[in-house]
């Protein structure tokens, strides 16, 4: 397990605050995050339901599956910690997926299998305003840098849930592929090497 210095945005001030990217999240850390988030998800879902609104689609995830996967070599689990709490989690697969896009078809990529932010960072879920911003951006940045480190040129692939499509299309500038019948008719999204470089915004 390794902690890499980074930052998130404290929403109360709209200023960056120190955070840590955790590479190699342990089963115990995953369990602690699940315990901290589970009760708030239930409360949040009830609140949204009472307001006649839809709960985020990712809540049907079975955390035990995540927990089992972190023990496989093919997977790497990342987290973002800030103020001694886990603010977001991501699981990526490094071996089982290749590009489906013309121009880079068949080339290896990092597949984003799971991403979630802490319930207190989701707008309207808690009675209080969200605490931290940029959790998704930082996790996707980590996935791209992981892809670069693995020699995959920053290429990413994922199946976005319908509620998340605009984030991957607009913020991450991923290319929308075809509907994947193997994945409950979710759209395949892919990040090219050129757009990965653009996203990272590294200065020469």
């Amino acid at each position: 397990m390794k902690r890499i210095p980074t930052s998130l945005v404290l929403k109360a001030t709209n200023e960056p605050v120190a955070a840590s990217l955790v590479e190699g999240v342990t089963g115990e850390m995953l369990e602690q995050a699940e315990l901290a988030w589970a009760a708030l998800r239930i409360e949040g879902a009830k609140r949204l339901q009472a307001a006649g609104r839809e709960a985020p689609q990712h809540w049907r995830w079975d955390w035990r599956r995540k927990s089992a996967k972190i023990n496989f070599m093919a997977y790497r689990c990342f987290g973002i910690e800030c103020a001694d709490e886990m603010q977001g989690l991501m699981l990526v697969n490094l071996t089982n997926y290749v590009s489906r896009m013309d121009g880079q078809r068949g080339k290896p990529l990092v597949y984003v299998d799971y991403i979630e932010t802490a319930p207190w960072n989701v707008k309207d879920l808690m009675p209080e305003p969200p605490r931290y911003g940029g959790v998704g951006v930082r996790l996707i940045e980590a996935a791209i840098r992981c892809s670069v480190d693995e020699g995959f040129g920053g290429r990413l692939g994922l199946h976005a849930l319908p509620q998340a499509e605009s984030f991957y299309e607009k913020t991450c500038e991923m290319t929308r592929g075809e509907i994947d019948r193997q994945y409950e008719n979710l759209f395949w999204f892919e990040l090219t090497t050129a757009n990965a470089k653009k996203f990272l915004g590294d200065k020469p």
Binding site: I4, P5, T6, S7, L8, V9, P16, E23, E31, E34, L35, A36, A38, A39, I42, P56, Q57, H58, R60, W61, D62, W63, R64, R65, K66, K69, Y111, V112, D113, Y114, I115, E116, V122, K123, G133, G134, G136, V137, I140, E141, A142, R145, C146, D149, L158, H159, A160, L161, A164, S166, F167, Y168, K170, T171, Y183, E184, L200, G201, D202, K203
Partner: protein, 163 residues
């Protein structure tokens, strides 16, 4: 791996991310069928923590030590320690049955809490998750706990010095 430390880059990207849901579906949908089948069940982590705290707090409420409870319930003391530590993945049914008797809990509920039986009772599931989430020990130690801790630390230190 070195992350981008440009303040303006982060603020601009975070601003774009604002109000977006960014969930992805690989894991979600492969496990959807299983999740449906398990809907209403108690999450494993919460169940284990809740069961451990339930036994520990109930024992303390009856002012029993672990040894005394083990003796009263006629169960193995090491198994009771494993249960209270949340390390017992599947305690023996007899142990759970006997603990339920001594601690005055309905046996079928204790079987669910111990992981030996399943439930789809949403009320119980939600209560278990809430109990587990509140079970992290944050309260100040009682004088007895403080004394026990000091005694144990003393033995640890002495045994380390003694080699």
């Amino acid at each position: 791996m070195k992350m981008n430390d440009d303040r303006n880059w982060l603020l601009a990207k975070a601003n774009e991310e604002d109000n977006c849901i960014f969930s992805v579906g690989g894991l979600a949908y492969r496990s959807a069928a299983e999740a449906d089948a398990n809907q209403g069940e108690i999450p494993e982590a919460a169940r284990r923590v809740a069961f451990a705290r339930l036994v520990e707090l109930s024992r303390r409420k009856q002012r029993l030590t672990v040894e005394q409870l083990a003796e009263k319930a006629d169960v193995d003391v090491s198994q009771l320690i494993e249960i209270e530590e949340g390390e017992s993945v599947s305690p023996e049914p007899r142990t759970v049955y006997k603990l339920a008797q001594v601690l005055n809990f309905p046996q079928d509920r204790m079987m669910v809490m111990s992981g030996l039986a399943r439930t789809r009772d949403r009320h119980l599931t939600e209560a278990t998750v809430r109990f587990a989430a509140r079970s992290e020990p944050v309260s100040i130690l009682s004088p007895e706990e403080e004394e026990a801790l000091q005694e144990y630390v003393k033995v640890l230190v002495e045994s380390a010095i003694g080699g």
